[in-house]
Point group: C2
Chain length 410, copies 2
């Protein structure tokens, strides 16, 4: 039976206590004395509050949220102790004061930072005020920590999944030939927003941006992009060259509805393919292959499966179907993965990609998105988000599968 | 007379040629041999395309956009020469091949990067593959370069200003007591999107995010936030603790409509204060002071004025009105500036803040936002965006000024 403390909808200190214990465990393994958590999402993960400052987590003992702004807000929200950060120049004294027992035999303090997101300038400033520190890249520690979701976190992803289901139903209801992609995504975004979407989905990767995913039809969907995914969309301008465009949606072309939202900090990722009228036979066959790949992948969604094998198996199926050039993008713009972890960011770990030797574990949440790109014609495919459980998986996206056929107007 | 090349709506190579010449000028001054531009917005600024890779600009001669993905898209969009980046590990050979004449007397190549945004991990990777390089922080060079807008850029900001004007009119038309802030901002965002808003405004600052600004009423507007501005808003959740909330808008309380959008890569920033019914006398008086500060500031918006003096003068006026505790936030959560540059990002240079000795120059675009925060009661204020001209300024935000009074329902 679940205690009240463990109830997934209860924002409790148990949740954060466990996260901190797990972080400290990893810090011990790597010989890190102090983790200065700097990124807004990571700070929220540790403290339950997203204010400016550092979540300072020692290898042992109580962590402290050193807050620059807003202290008042942090005190209200934080699940860990909050203190004013004070002067940045005196950070060394501040840390020594709050954590007097830190440091190794040789007097050095080994401090980890998230090198994958922290800008060089801020790192140099920290180096200047903490000249005695030895620095370490804590990115892997943090990404591995956040890779395993608690019931509390999964509950939030479920809420986002419900919003995405509703948004798909709305999209299928309102789409019509002659409608701009932009008009369709604007309507979807409005619906997402009214359900509590915070306005965009967060991404960890440098230069990567995503709002609510995309609606893209025909040739516009098949345009290559810099976006780290199989289909990015034409976008509105070279200054934002991905997502929905001003292209008018037509009949008999695939309409890719690859959408998600961010509810209470957690995202969902879901793709369905729509068509008004009917698809060309080869595109419909490719769509069917994407569903077959998903079915085969599901069979191996159990703890212990090596992530890269899921990608390799999917690639083999695409090859067997004669579609390897079209799989996950086209030609030199193909991406080399089948899926990705999601949580507070859309590009979390694990990645279902070559070289990713990580084994599936209970608590991972993964978006799996077999898609096929046909330049000048469109993209077809499907994407679900899954929770890995003790003995298999649970599908978190609830929208019905299958090619969504909308009757032509004439 | 304007030549066709100089026409502000003409995306021409003249525009990018000039940007590159100015960058190279600054590189010469600082002894930089090569600028490897890494950030998506900076890459777009130099190339006219926002694909993944490096815009490599030598101190003299032709720059090259080294593209990882998508090469095809970059070739279509870029105003400068495009080449495939090839293997990251061979970047040294690639650079030596394309720029054989680089390097100083001692054989060292001095390379600049944007340290203010580049993550440490990516910097370390570059250091590993370019072991002979001497590295320099190019952030100031780039921020100064982008600080002065061309007619081409101002034309885009004008389009965004028109969208913001329309959005304000819509907000005043639809707002009513009992409406959630979220419902109002969702409607505004839909209108922005249909006018070509790319979905969010970009910010350069680490951990800073903004979608379309905010609608916030009464006590929710006055809540302190981590956001680097005078008023952030309550937000929907501690996981996104700024912007519109689920608070219901009431009568006789200030409604701050601080909104903007991003059209073709360029943003606008505009604030107006609305009230359904009437404001308390002291809040209305504070609103009047915000307009007076804006009028006084405008008198000094001429080339040559030192940025920090505009903040000092405004602060003095707030003090004289007995409102210094409420100016630009409240108490310890006050921000220490009066305005900020805008362009492709909302937090550009110059900043009208203490310590900012920069003088105003023609081509700067600055959002100026005197505001007063009353904890538990609300925020009042106004914000316009201005272009500095040869002999003064031009107001780019076109929305009417003054407290917007909406008749109470009863």
């Amino acid at each position: 039976m679940m205690t009240n403390e463990e109830h997934p909808m209860n924002t409790n200190t148990f949740e954060h206590k466990k996260r901190i214990e797990q972080l400290q465990e990893k810090m011990k393994e790597k010989g890190i004395h102090l983790f200065l958590v700097t990124q807004n999402v990571d700070i929220y993960y540790i403290t339950g509050s997203m204010q400016t400052g550092y979540a300072a987590v020692p290898q042992e003992g109580e962590p402290i949220f050193l807050v620059k702004r807003s202290y008042e807000r942090a005190v209200t929200e934080s699940k860990i102790r909050v203190e004013r950060m004070g002067s940045f120049r005196q950070l060394e004294e501040t840390i020594a004061g709050f954590f007097p027992h830190l440091s190794s035999a040789d007097g050095k303090i080994r401090i980890a930072l998230e090198y994958d997101v922290l800008p060089v300038q801020q790192f140099e400033r920290l180096q200047a005020v903490l000249p005695q520190a030895e620095w370490a890249d804590g990115s892997v520690i943090f990404r591995e920590l956040r890779m395993i979701k608690s019931p509390f976190e999964v509950a939030r992803i479920r809420m986002a999944a419900i919003a995405a289901h509703r948004a798909l139903v709305e999209a299928a209801n309102i789409v019509r030939p002659g409608m701009m992609e932009l008009a369709l995504i604007a309507q979807i975004e409005h619906l997402f927003r009214m359900q509590g979407h915070v306005g965009m989905m967060r991404m960890r990767g440098y230069n990567q941006e995503i709002i609510t995913g995309m609606v893209a039809s025909g040739d516009a969907a098949a345009e290559p992009t810099y976006f780290d995914g199989p289909a990015g969309g034409r976008g509105l301008t070279p200054a934002a060259p991905q997502g929905a465009s001003r292209k008018v949606i037509g009949e008999n072309e695939p309409i890719l509805v690859d959408i998600g939202c961010c509810i209470d900090g957690y995202v969902i990722d879901q793709t369905r393919t729509l068509v008004i009228g009917k698809l060309d036979e080869d595109l419909e066959a490719a769509y069917d292959v994407s569903e077959q790949i998903l079915r085969e992948t599901e069979k191996n969604l159990v703890p212990g499966t090596v992530c890269e094998s899921l990608y390799a198996d999917a690639l083999q199926m695409a090859q067997d179907a004669g579609l390897s050039d079209h799989f996950m993008g086209y030609g030199e713009d193909q991406v080399k993965f089948l899926g990705h972890g999601i949580g507070m960011e859309i590009d979390e770990w694990p990645v279902l990609a070559r070289g990713f030797k990580q084994k599936l574990e209970p608590g991972m949440v993964i978006a799996i998105e077999p898609k096929f790109t046909f330049p000048g014609r469109g993209v077809v495919g499907i994407e679900n988000t899954y929770l890995i459980t003790k003995d298999g998986y649970e599908r978190l996206t609830t929208a019905p599968e299958g090619l969504i056929r909308i009757k032509s107007c004439d």
